[in-house]
């Protein structure tokens, strides 16, 4: 048993890295929204679920490969997020934090059960022609879809970093995050920037949905699995930190898969909740954040 655990360890770590990169992408959207709007987007899991369905139906109805589907789902998610914030969340919450928490909770209930109503509770998966092809790294076999997802999410994280640091939009977003009033005074339309940030956050989910679908499944409650994971990564990496989300994603991905190997499938999931609770209690600003 012991030797089996040891011999499986490299595979578990690699697997954790692969999933961790997608977790990072999910968390990236959440941390960006938090960093700029200072709100907790509780609908994050449900919106990821919608992105997964979008990728799924693009594949099953139009035959578009999920990885190619990124080109459609990402802009679509951006528009959806932009409109959702501008005409709903921002308008209805009257600027109170707890209201936003509850409204996004309400939205997630609505989305999940609409998915239930229209798409039924069936678990759906896609079978791509290359689903079961693998690459031999010598010490571990990795499936092609996992590898593609891994590298694609790294690329997308990098693109997001470029967007935030190199473009005017990124500059405006950072300005709003730092100093709302000041940004308004220099002529930035703060409400539009809020909506755009929310849109970018949801676009990250769109990408994550497309990358996740080939190696996972979707049902109306898939999003719930990722809610605690994403929040854990965000507090682990520091609310609002892009690099933190990336590193946090890898830590959580590896914790989950190594935890599953050592403690068994069922109890293995506990590692994430425990990390979450400990981080919230002792380092609520994250591993890389300053002290309060």
């Amino acid at each position: 048993m012991m030797s089996y655990t040891v011999s499986m360890m490299p595979a578990a770590v690699m697997n954790g890295l692969m999933y961790g990169s997608i977790y990072a992408l999910v968390a990236l959207g959440l941390t960006l929204i938090y960093g700029v709007l200072h709100i907790i987007n509780f609908a994050h899991g449900a919106l990821l679920m919608l992105a997964l369905y979008a990728a799924f139906f693009l594949y099953s109805i139009l035959g578009i490969d999920p990885y190619l589907g990124i080109l459609i789902v990402v802009p679509g998610s951006f528009i959806f997020g932009y409109v959702l914030y501008r005409f709903m969340i921002g308008k209805l919450a009257h600027g109170k934090d707890q209201n936003i928490l509850l409204i996004t909770l309400g939205l997630s209930i609505v989305f999940e059960n609409m998915a239930m109503l229209f798409f039924s509770a069936d678990q759906r998966t896609v079978n791509l022609s290359y689903s079961f092809e693998t690459v031999d790294l010598g010490f571990v076999l990795l499936s092609i879809p996992k590898l593609i997802s891994f590298f694609a999410s790294l690329v997308i994280c990098f693109l997001l970093w470029m967007l935030m640091s190199m473009t005017d939009l990124g500059k405006a977003i950072r300005a709003v995050a730092k100093e709302r009033q000041g940004a308004r005074l220099v002529g930035i339309d703060v409400d539009k920037i809020f909506a755009a940030t929310y849109g970018i956050g949801i676009a990250c989910l769109g990408a994550a949905g497309c990358l996740l679908l080939p190696i996972f499944y979707v049902d109306p409650y898939t999003g719930n699995l990722f809610v605690i994971i994403a929040f854990t990564i965000v507090v682990l990496g520091g609310m609002g930190s892009i690099v933190g989300a990336l590193i946090g994603g890898f830590i959580i991905g590896i914790t989950e898969s190594v935890g599953g190997l050592i403690l068994g499938e069922s109890l293995g999931q506990i590692g994430i909740s425990v990390i979450f609770i400990l981080i919230l209690m002792f380092r609520p600003n994250g591993l890389f954040g300053g002290k309060t």
């Binding site: 907790i40 709903m88 308008k91 209805l92 919450a93 009257h94 934090d97 707890q98 209201n99 928490l101 509850l102 409204i103 909770l105 309400g106 939205l107 997630s108 209930i109 609505v110 999940e112 059960n113 609409m114 239930m116 109503l117 509770a121 109306p220 719930n224 809610v227 605690i228 929040f231 854990t232 068994g264 069922s266 109890l267 999931q269 506990i270 909740s273 425990v274 979450f276 609770i277 919230l280 209690m281 002792f282 609520p284």
Partner: protein, 318 residues
Amino acid sequence: MAISISRWVQMGLLVLAVVLPLAIQNNFYLDVLTIIFFTAYLGQSWNILGGYAGQFSFGGVMFFGTGAYASTILWTTYGIPPIYGVFVAILAGAIVGLIVGYASFRYGLRGSYFALITLAFAEMLRIIANSVEFTGGGVGIFLNFEPSIMNLQFINARGFYYLSLGMVVISIIIAMWLERSRFGAQLIAIRENEDAAEALGINVLRSKILAIMIMGGMGGAAGTFYAQKYLYLDPPIAYSIALSVEMLLVTIVGGMGTVFGPLVGSFVLHIVTEVAKHLIESPGLSLIVYGFILILIIAYLPNGLIGLFKGLSGKRGK
């Protein structure tokens, strides 16, 4: 004058609730009313910490589930009847409240952070219940149906109806006591401005922990009730996110920090649900309606339905 009138209305409603089962022979309606009372009771437990003390929990189900497992395991494994077991359930819920409250409030977690940490605790308990043996793991526990007062089980729906009515009355009495007591005033002070409350000499940590322990104890008893009525328990039921949401939902819809808010909210939401079910038979629909109601209430009626009544009847409110 206003106070005495509303007191008479309350008494009248209570008498009506007591004699109602004599008029209604249909078990279906009694079961719906039982669920309304049960949810209102859980909502009131959430209201004490969320409505009065202003600490929103997203994992309120953890007390319910722990209480349900406590009395159920005592009964099925050790033969201790639930009428005693329920006190262990209350104690278990309060202890979980103490631990979670101490862990989170001592480190100054507020607002969204507190909501999330309670969610994580509930999730952790679900995973533990799923992995250990004495809870029956993922298979769950089946309870026997042996109606007797010792087992808190009844031959017909009427018995459970009265039990749930008793629970909701107790919960309302707790809320009424809270509104008049020094402790309740301290909780409200904490809700309005925690730093100011601290400066006034209120022991904020102690008050918040006490509030979550009351919530926990109440939730524990609800767990026993549920298990004895529905005769089955497994981790997804005991620690269901949906129930956590429902208890905050009925309270917010009815009116947070009010004595009758949870009951009003529970009534309205369940009646809406039943009507919706009647019109369209499909899973998930009632929850879609719940979600929309939650959003609309937050956006347009921050004081809930009770606030609406108070607004309509002018300043007579208090």
